[in-house]
């Protein structure tokens, strides 16, 4: 099948990619941009390992076709950390010990980023509901909830201070 050239913004830069109709976002990111933070696991949009932000909204990169990215603004986990410092969410995940094998971590980090954007001071219930689409087989869930709260505090302190 014929490839099509698409134009979109990836992590703040205008890029083009040649994609076939069957290519999903994960394989495009991995093969054309060497970005492996979004990764396929279940292949059904159920585990959240493939999460990327498209126009600010989290999507499952294993189900989202690459051609749909035309004209969008895409952010992957690789974009969160600056050269100087990690994103507060990433820092909180480290401090809270919120991962073991780390395979699911980028997905959780991006979802947390998105959650805090919507709810700067999320309740336990909001955290659980928001992250219920992300799975962690090492089951670091209690630490993840702590990390989200810590991240919210860090973000707040950063914006007010």
């Amino acid at each position: 099948m014929a490839a099509r050239t698409i134009n979109f913004t990836l992590n703040g830069r205008a890029v083009t990619a040649d994609v076939k109709p069957q290519h999903n976002v994960v394989e495009m990111l991995q093969t054309q941009f060497a970005l492996t933070g979004a990764r396929e696991s279940c292949g059904q949009g159920l585990c959240g390992c493939c999460t990327v932000l498209v126009d600010g909204k989290p999507v499952s990169g294993c189900l989202y076709l690459a051609v749909f990215l035309e004209g969008t603004d895409v952010v992957t986990v690789e974009h969160l950390a600056g050269p100087e410092a990690l994103d507060p969410v990433q820092q909180a995940f480290i401090e809270a010990g919120a991962f073991q094998c780390g395979f699911c971590t980028p997905g959780f980090v991006l979802m947390t980023k998105s959650l805090i954007g919507q709810h700067p001071d999320p309740s336990d219930e909001q955290i659980r509901d928001y992250l219920s689409g992300n799975l962690c087989r090492c089951a670091g869930y209690p630490e993840i909830v702590n990390a989200v709260k810590m991240a919210a505090r860090k973000v707040k302190a950063g914006t007010t201070g």
């Binding site: 991962f99 395979f103 869930y141």
Partner: protein, 735 residues
């Protein structure tokens, strides 16, 4: 020089040293790795559970544009004439030969540059089988009416399996027996005898990073990138298959996206190597989530347990018969069968014990190790049995346990003396946290409440060897080479802490080299909670060796005893510039005495693992819904090297176990797994976490452990006790 470094690294809750890589999405995993020029493999799998292969038609697949090649076992045998592999038995063919033995067994492979093309081509392959009767149940398999393999092929790796070579007409891959005292006589004199049978279901590891291996074969050597828990074993096995010396086989293992025992020994590596040999291109075999259901699982089991109790409530006799459903290939099932057999009678002081543990072949996905080498299945059974006896005797479940508990200095069933095993402390701690002796609100109306506790004992796999190298560069910086695979348990961090402790440097400044058999020395494997103890000792010895060499260098360059001259200056003095290395090595293998024909030995294990759980639950008597309201995990890990990581391990292992206890089950119909996806096979999510979860490590010290530690970084089976409280508690809540 001080004999003990005054380091302050052991006992620190240092964040994982690879943390930054993991939160930024930069950590390397095989499944997301690419090698220039690589081809993607997609596997055509058997649709029948047991059958003779009459024909495999690959012609249409070969003609599909974009397909590089399609291979079957006929092709594999051109490059590897005897393509059977496995740790205990050489019974598993790289691709099915003549027969298929389970639904999902690899039969043919398509290679293409575009994985979508390879996938499409797989759909064009057709196979014709002469179906044979199949056996799925482990107890039926023991009757040998339907035989899975025509002939047994032990690998020779385990001396205790050699006698099975060439045996025909049987599904029993190993029978472990233990006889202590006189069980029959004790049963005859017992006041009460209880017998129960417990069966566990088939579940799987389901690592979020599915199995992946990339092989790049050249005439002078092969490089393999793999999601493997034991790079040294992979190297040995591939070298054997190729008839090569080991130094022509290089196995590189980045981080693992979960392992839990599934990625042990050899999985997709042999197939990747064979395909790369045939294609003369790098080949990546990366499985889908669905394919993990056809690769390796936990053992389903049937456990018949019988106990005789005297008039005072003491258990005087216990007979255990366990049938392990090993699936179509032995994998490490025989080891599971034997090692878990050691402790099948539980953490109790029983004079008369009889244990028979059978590893069985069936026509299902092969089974291997999953967080505990069979122990969780046994603990659930013997602790449920314990509760059922206590209830029948109208005794308190805690008091009954304490009356019968195996105590320090007493011989365990094998005859090995119990040492540094805080069983009673763990049990007391759980009881304390549950306020066991206080009145308990059992609920009312349709919501009833219950609670339970359980405790377990495990022997480590022994004897096994670990080797480590510590290298100090001329600027004074330290590098550790060790083959332990960090799959989330935090081993890189713990090992760095031990190096730091000995050399008195901050652990975060120690570079831990990713596993690469060209660089990192031998290690038996990251399995059975052995690494912190065995590799820990090797790392300690290597660091101590380096420290001694630093002292020698100080003397050599004329420094006074106890001088604080920086290392970089010592190197400068010695070599005239910043040059040279100090290399320390360490090798560790504990003593072990194999069991005799009665299963007895005075040294079954270098250390004992002890853990327990307590739960409180609510049951809706109208809907049957069970909700865990409180979960308590307690373990004896010796002295924790990294308390924070230990806690996350205890918590995570117990939450994974909630899945196995509450809802995970591979549904199998005629040998076909009917729920092979995350849509149908549910694993614990964030909503399944109990509202209260408490993790505690009892104050303990492993006297022969590195820095007093034992299975600290990973006490995976801890949560497995949960099985018991869940079932019997549900029962008592509903009573």
């Amino acid at each position: 020089m001080a004999t003990t470094a005054a380091g302050a690294q052991v006992g620190r809750s240092l964040p994982r040293i690879e943390a930054r890589e993991k939160v930024t999405g930069r950590a390397e995993y095989t499944h997301i790795m690419q090698v220039p020029g690589m081809l993607h493999a997609r596997i055509f799998r058997s649709t029948v559970a047991h059958g003779r292969i009459k024909a495999v038609d690959v012609s249409a697949a070969r003609q599909l544009p974009g397909v590089f090649a399609v291979y079957t076992s006929e092709d594999v045998r051109k490059v590897i004439p005897d393509p059977y592999y496995g740790p205990a038995f050489h019974d598993q063919p790289i691709l099915a030969i003549d027969k298929v033995h389970f639904v999902g067994e690899p039969v043919a492979v398509v290679l293409a540059s575009d994985p979508h093309v390879a996938e499409q081509a797989v759909q064009q392959i057709a196979a014709d089988y002469e179906e044979l009767p199949a056996v799925f149940d482990e107890v039926e398999a023991a009757e040998n009416k339907i035989v899975v393999h025509d002939e047994l092929k032990p690998a020779g790796t385990f001396a205790d399996l050699k006698h099975l070579k060439g045996r025909k007409g049987t599904n029993i891959a190993l029978d472990f027996r233990l006889r202590r005292g006189d069980v029959d006589k004790a049963f005859a004199s017992a006041a009460r005898v209880f017998e129960h049978t417990f069966r566990t279901q088939k579940v799987l590891h389901l690592a979020l990073e599915p199995f992946a291996s990339i092989a790049d074969y050249r005439d002078d050597g092969v490089t393999i990138h793999s999601s493997a828990q034991g790079p040294s074993f992979v190297r040995t096995e591939i070298a054997r298959l190729l008839g090569w010396p080991e130094n022509r086989v290089r196995v590189k293992v980045p981080y693992l996206g979960g392992g839990y025992g599934g990625k042990l020994y050899i999985k997709m590596e042999a197939l990747a190597v064979a395909l790369s040999m045939l294609a003369r291109r790098p080949v990546k075999v990366a499985l889908s989530m669905e394919e993990q259901f056809y690769t390796i699982t936990k053992h389903p089991s049937t456990f018949r347990i019988k106990s005789g109790v005297d008039k005072d409530g003491r258990i005087i006799a216990r007979k255990c018969e366990i049938w392990w459903n090993g699936g179509a290939y032995a994998d490490i099932g025989p080891r599971v069968t034997q090692k878990s057999g050691f402790t099948a009678a539980g953490p109790y002081d029983i004079d008369n014990v009889s244990i028979d543990s059978y590893a069985l072949y069936t026509n299902l996905t092969p089974a291997g190790a999953l967080r505990g080498f069979g122990i969780p299945q046994l603990v659930w059974a013997y602790e449920s049995h314990t509760d059922m006896i206590a209830r029948a005797l109208k005794r308190d479940a805690l008091d009954f346990r304490k009356l019968n508990l195996l105590r320090e200095g007493r011989p365990q069933a094998t005859g090995t003396i119990l040492k540094d095993a805080a069983i009673e402390k763990v049990l007391d701690c759980i009881a304390d946290r549950l306020h066991w002796k206080a009145p308990f609100d059992r609920g009312s109306g349709t919501i009833r409440r219950g609670r339970g506790l359980a405790v377990a004992l495990k022997a480590v796999i022994s004897p096994t060897t670990s080797v480590a190298i510590v290298n100090i560069s001329a600027d004074g910086s330290t590098t550790l080479y060790c083959g332990t695979v960090d799959m989330g348990q935090g081993s890189d961090t713990a090992m760095a802490q031990m190096v730091g402790e000995v050399l008195n440097v901050p652990a975060e400044t120690v570079r831990v080299v990713p596993r690469d058999t060209d660089i990192t020395p031998y290690d038996m494997g990251t399995l059975g909670s052995r690494s912190l103890f065995h590799m820990g000792h090797a790392v300690r010895l290597a660091a101590e060796d380096a420290r001694a060499r630093i002292a020698a260098l100080r003397r050599e360059v004329g420094e006074a005893e106890g001088s604080n001259t920086p290392l970089v200056d010592l190197f400068r003095k010695r070599y005239g510039m910043q040059a040279g290395n100090i290399v320390g090595t360490g090798t560790y293998k504990p003593d072990y005495i194999p069991p005799d024909s009665e299963g007895l030995t005075t040294n079954a294990t270098p250390f004992w693992m002890v853990a327990g759980s307590g739960v409180e639950i609510e049951v809706d008597t109208e809907t049957g819904q069970v909700r865990i309201t409180r979960l308590i995990n307690v373990a004896d890990v010796g002295r924790p090297i990294n308390p924070r990581i230990v806690e996350t391990q205890l918590s995570g292992a117990s939450l994974m176990q909630i899945g196995f206890s509450m809802f995970e089950k591979m549904q199998i119909d005629g040998g076909q797994v009917t729920n092979a996806s995350l849509a149908d096979y549910k694993i614990p999510g964030i909503h399944d976490v109990p509202p209260i979860i408490e993790n505690e490590v009892v104050d303990a010290y492993q006297s022969n452990g590195p820095f007093g530690a034992k299975a600290s970084a990973n006490l995976p089976h801890s949560g497995c006790r949960l099985r018991l409280p869940m079932q019997s508690t549900t029962r008592s809540a509903c009573a």
